[in-house]
Symmetry: C2
Subunit: 388 residues, 2 copies
């Protein structure tokens, strides 16, 4: 009954401290690039979804979706803003999928945008903290960094995960990011740099934490049967899954696992008829190095506790067992929070088109994106396949 869904266009700004561009500038740039890439006209667009975490606090602007629609020149087109913290982009993509698969819309633009750096790093990190449980975590002084640091400490304690293993997440992602023209950090780093970096919240140091960035990205969806009538080389969007968990870390059953991730993955694999072993690459939500280790376990690529050793062995490097965060991930590509899920989708499409340049996964046929909100209160997983 549901229609198949294709992605026929992608657009992405550079990610970084983009002080000369406003949120709307970034949204316009990514949106128009995706429209051009797909070879569609604005009039063909039936609906617009925008993922954005916190423009209200970051730039004093709400009503984000109509705003960006307006400045892209599509003010009459229905538009919807989704907020799910760091998973805003991924959840927006899931809603866009539903709009197309259901037959309610044909051409749908899904974008993500965030302008983090205008308020300064301390305030930006404070705002990020509003995706933790304000009443039971943040007000008592728990920072976002410290909540993830607790998870890291627990993972180390229970599974013997080491700082060196975590460091290799950052090293690998910087290696990949150095090969991504849109990445914020395009410099390879050595494990010693990560291990000797100033602490943020022990055991996490500066290089264990993704930056907070400005950036936007957009993809164009259409029904599978229409995909070949446009210019942009299509990619299949095979399915998605969403999962939730307690917002507050202290309410979780376990601190070494993201239940929301495994729930989302289970549904996404079920919907797409695929399994972890089918994936050639995965973009996972590495807002901290420990997050990537937990994600590759919870997504089913490695057994619980084996994420660290696998990373150190190089099993997640480019063209290894599973190529993880070929884009550079949040760590090196950057973290424009509400856009991250769409940045991940852009990378998945680039890989499956065979257009990922120096970071291309050989013969990539299937891939996955994993997008996390808060400290794991929600997660969304999408699965993509090559067109032909």
């Amino acid at each position: 009954m549901m229609r198949k869904v294709a992605i026929i266009g992608i657009g992405e700004t550079k990610i970084g401290e983009l002080w000369e561009s406003s949120l709307r500038d970034l949204g316009i740039q990514a949106g128009l690039e995706a429209i051009r890439d797909a070879g569609i006209t604005g009039e063909e667009i039936d609906k617009i979804y925008i993922g954005n975490m916190s423009a209200g606090r970051l730039i004093n602007q709400e009503l984000i979706a109509p705003l960006i629609a307006d400045y892209v020149g599509l003010c009459e087109t229905p538009s919807v803003r989704i907020e799910a913290g760091g998973a805003s982009g991924g959840v927006a993509l899931a809603e866009g999928y539903m709009a197309v698969a259901s037959g309610m819309s044909d051409i749908v633009v899904v974008g993500g945008a965030e302008k983090m750096t205008d308020v300064g790093d301390e305030e930006a990190r404070n705002i990020l903290c509003s995706t933790a449980d304000r009443e039971w975590e943040s007000v008592f002084g728990a920072t976002f960094d410290s909540l993830y640091a607790m998870m890291a400490r627990y993972h180390m304690e229970v599974h013997g995960t080491t700082r060196e293993q975590m460091a290799h997440v950052a090293v690998k992602n910087h290696y990949n990011g150095a090969r991504n023209p849109n990445a914020q950090f395009r410099r390879e780093i050595a494990p010693e740099m990560v291990l000797n970096a100033p602490p943020v919240s022990t055991p996490l140091g500066v290089f264990d934490c993704a930056p907070l960035s400005d950036g936007a990205a957009a993809v164009i969806l259409c029904p599978g049967e229409m995909a070949e009538s446009y210019n942009g080389k299509p990619v299949r969007l095979l399915g998605f899954g969403m999962g939730g968990d307690h917002i507050a870390v202290h309410d979780r059953r376990e601190m070494d696992t993201m239940r929301s991730t495994s729930l989302a993955a289970e549904k996404a694999f079920c919907m797409s008829g695929k399994e972890p072993g089918d994936m050639d690459f995965a973009e996972v939500h590495d807002n901290y190095t420990i997050s990537e280790i937990m994600a590759i376990e919870d997504l089913g690529f490695f057994a619980k506790g084996q994420g660290g050793p696998a990373t150190l062995r190089g099993d997640t490097a480019l063209d290894s067992k599973i190529s993880v965060n070929t884009s550079g991930g949040l760590k090196a590509k950057g973290q424009p929070v509400g856009a991250v899920g769409i940045n991940q989708a852009v990378e998945a499409v680039s890989q499956l088109r065979g257009k990922a340049g120096d970071r291309q996964v050989k013969d990539a046929e299937f891939g996955l994106t994993h997008n996390l909100g808060g400290t794991g209160g929600c997660a969304v997983v999408h699965i993509y396949g090559r067109w032909e």
Copy 2:
């Protein structure tokens, strides 16, 4: 191909300055009441949508949907927060409709919640202003009130609309609100009180403006074919429409009409196979008295320029030509911004169940809700029908 959609449960908090309840308290109360009313169990719920405008700024909390899902006891259930300024609730309802109609979800909860009063009225009005165009309106001193005041002045100039006609919007809505146990203002007022009230932004006085309130509401959707298997008396959700327009008032072609409203209405009537004359009642977005006059024109109930005279004649009073804002509307029932669209849906269901007490529209068979974001940058219209 799409399934029919029914509403089988409603829940609503009292609206007002609820200083003893937090956002999550309000969300829990409305959600549980709707679940009880429908007679479903939490496990049956497939998805949750929450409309909320600005919790980030109002209470320093984002990730609103997983937060409320968690505290309702449904932390693993996929949840999505929608932000569309004042139309957040209505847009959430449209997404929920799509989830059920498409067959992707069976039981869906759509809630709306806003906690406006903790920051004080001046700051709350400033935050509301972030749904205008921050870069081209708000930063130059245009308040939300003054933007609507300009529309009122223009409407008066072009169509001869009078302050007395506008006053009768408030008088009628207070009359209805006095008959609604959940309304913030339950006191009838005389036209002289409106006309002699202190000015907010001329020609709008205090009684021309809706309050900023705390409150939450929720409805339960399910496929039409399942509706009779639950306890809650079902109501049909026949269709919806969304429309957009330029965010900034100065970009509009005309200032006496909301293009987003007429676009949304056109689509909603088309989808539901109904027309304005079929409606027995309408909940319209009367954030200002002039807004109701524009809405009843743009929705097709009265010709452009006739909204004022019709209101003065009593054509929008209870059991007249079309009963408008039987709940009391935003003016008297109150304005918990992101919840408004769901408050309207709750009223529509109450009317079509014949359970609206002293404000019941006789033999109500069809009704409409109209929810506006910003100064008209987006609008969403839903159409409802009696079950039997």
